[in-house]
Amino acid sequence: MRVEYINPFVEAAYNILTEVLGGDIKRGELYLKSASVPVMGVAALVGLAGDVEGRVIFDMDMATAMKIASQMNQEDLKQFDELAKATITELANLITAQAVTKLHDLGFRFDLTPPALFTGENMEISDHDVEALIVPMETSQGRVEVNVAIRDRM
C-alpha cells in the first residue's frame, strides 16, 4: 500500500476513537496481512473508489461493539439492536471520512461508499489480490482493528 495512505488512516482512527470514547487509546504495531481476513464478530466495511480502489474494514468482537455503542449513546445498551448497529456504522463513517479528508488535502481523490455492517460468528472476508494494512487500536472498551486495503488503479 502506498506509504502516503498509511498515516491519514492511523491518525483518523486515533483521533475519532479518542474523541467519541474518551479514555486511553493505544495504537498497536502496524502490520501487513495477505488477503484473507477473519472477522472477530462485528465488521463495518466502507468501500473506496476514485484514483484508488479498495476498502476499509473496522473489525471488533461483539462485546467491544456493545460497549462502544453504549458509550457513544451515553446509555447502557442491552442488545445489538438498530441503534447499536447505526452507531457502529457511524463510527466507521466518521473515521473513514476524516482519513479521506486528510488524503484529499494531500491531493488524492477518493469517493466513499456507505458503510455496510456484517455481524456473525466465524466470518471471513476474502478479497483477491490486495494485501491489507492492519492498524490495531486498544481502547478501554476493547480491541478495534482497522483493516485497510487500497491499491492504485492501474
Binding site: 502506498r2 506509504v3 502516503e4 498509511i6 501487513l32 468482537d61 461483539m62 489480490d129 492501474m154
Partner: protein, 444 residues
Amino acid sequence: MTENDIKSVMGKEETLHDGEVRSERVSVIDYKMVTFALAGKDYAIDIMEVKEIAKAGRFTFVPNTSPFVLGVYNLRGDIIPIIDLRIFFNIPTKARESDALESMIIINVDEQTFGIVVDSIDKVVGISKNSIQPPHPIFGDINIKYIHGVVENQGRLYILLDVNRIFGSRVKAAEEVATQAIEEKLIPAVAVSHKQSKDELDVSFIRDALAALTKFFVTAVNEQWISTRYQQWRDVRTAGDIQLKSEDDARQYLETFRSPETGTFWNDAYASEISNILPVNQAKQINVWNVGCGKGYETYSLAVILKDKYPNSRIRIYANDSDLLAISNAPMLSFPENMISPIYKPYLVQGVNGSWSFNQTIKDMILFEYHDCTNQNSVPNMDVIIARDVLSFMNPKQQTSVISEFTEKLKDNGIVILGKNEAMPQHSGWLRTVQGDVVAFSKE
C-alpha cells in the same frame, strides 16, 4: 461467555494439565548423571559410565601423543591414560601449575579406563530419562556429535556428553593422528576428502545458525557465496571458533555479503555500471520494480539513472519494502548537500531549511509502497526488477515463490538485478550478464 473467555479458560486447563505431566516426570528418576564444569558451563556424563572421581596431578608425560592426552596415571596399580577435555573440545584452558591437583572423572568405555580432567566436579543429579532433549546445532563450543542431549534441572542447563562417541572416536582419532603424517604424503586425496567432509559439516552448521540468528537462508541463490565466504572465515578464525555462536558472529559472517552502496545514494562508478547494464529500450512506458527499497536512497539513485538512460520514456518505479519505519519517510526524503554527487544535481531542489530533496519529476516517477512481496503482488509487467539482498532473507519457500513471481512479471526483454553475491539458480532459464559489481539476469 465470549470466545476469548473460553480460550483463556482452555488455556488454563492446558497449563494445569502440563503441570501434572511435569510433576509426574520429576517423580520418576531413572537416570543419574555426574555434573561438572568446563570453562564456566555445566556438563554431565551418565553415571553408569563413571567408575569413580579422584583428584590427582603430576601425570607421567607420554611423548608423541595428541595434545589432549596429558599423560598416564597410576590408579592403584592400573595405568590409565589421562585426557584433558578442555583441550579436546578446544575450550580455552588456564595455564596449569606444575604440581596442582586436577579434578578427574574416571570412566569406563568399552572395557577401557580413562581419566578425564575437568575444571571442577559438581554433584550427582537424578533426572527422568524423558526430560533429556536433543541438542541444537547452534550450541557452539562442542561439536554436536559429542552431545547426547540437554537437561534442565533446578534452573540449570546441563549439556549431556556422549562418552562412547567421544572416546570411541578418540581411539580412532589417536590412530589417525599417528598415521596422518604418512597419509598426507602418500594419499593426499584421502586427507583432502576427509577435510572436505568436515568443512561441509561446518558449513551446514553455519547455514542453520544463519537461518536461526539472522533469518538469512542459504539456497541456490547464494550458495556460491557461502562456500567462498567459509574459506575466508576459516582462515581468520581459530579452529575452535568457526561456528557462529551469537548474532554478532552471524553479522560478522555476513559482513561481506551486502551489495556495494547499500542504503545510500549510489556513487558515480556504481551508477554507471547499473546504467551500462540496462538494455536498450525504446518503449514509451518503462516499468521498474524495486523490491526492498528501504529508506529510498537507492530508489532515487535508480530513478535518476533511468531518467538519463531513457529520456523519452515514461518511467514508473514501484518501490516496495515491508519495513514500515524505513519506508515511511521515503516519499519526503531530504538530505544534506554533502551526501550527493554531481550526477544527481540537475534533479534536486533546495528546501527552505537548506536541505535538498528530489524534484517533482523524479518523485512522480516513484511509487513507494508498504508491501510484503511474499503476499500477492499487483504490479504490472516489468522491464527491470531490482531486488538487491532481498531473496536471501526469505525462507526457501518464499524465495521460490518470489522468483517465479519475477519470472511471471518480467517482460521478455527485461532484466533482473539481484545483490552482488546473489544469483538466479543455475539451469533455471536465466542468462547472466556481468558488468563490474553488477550482475543482471535475463530470460533465455
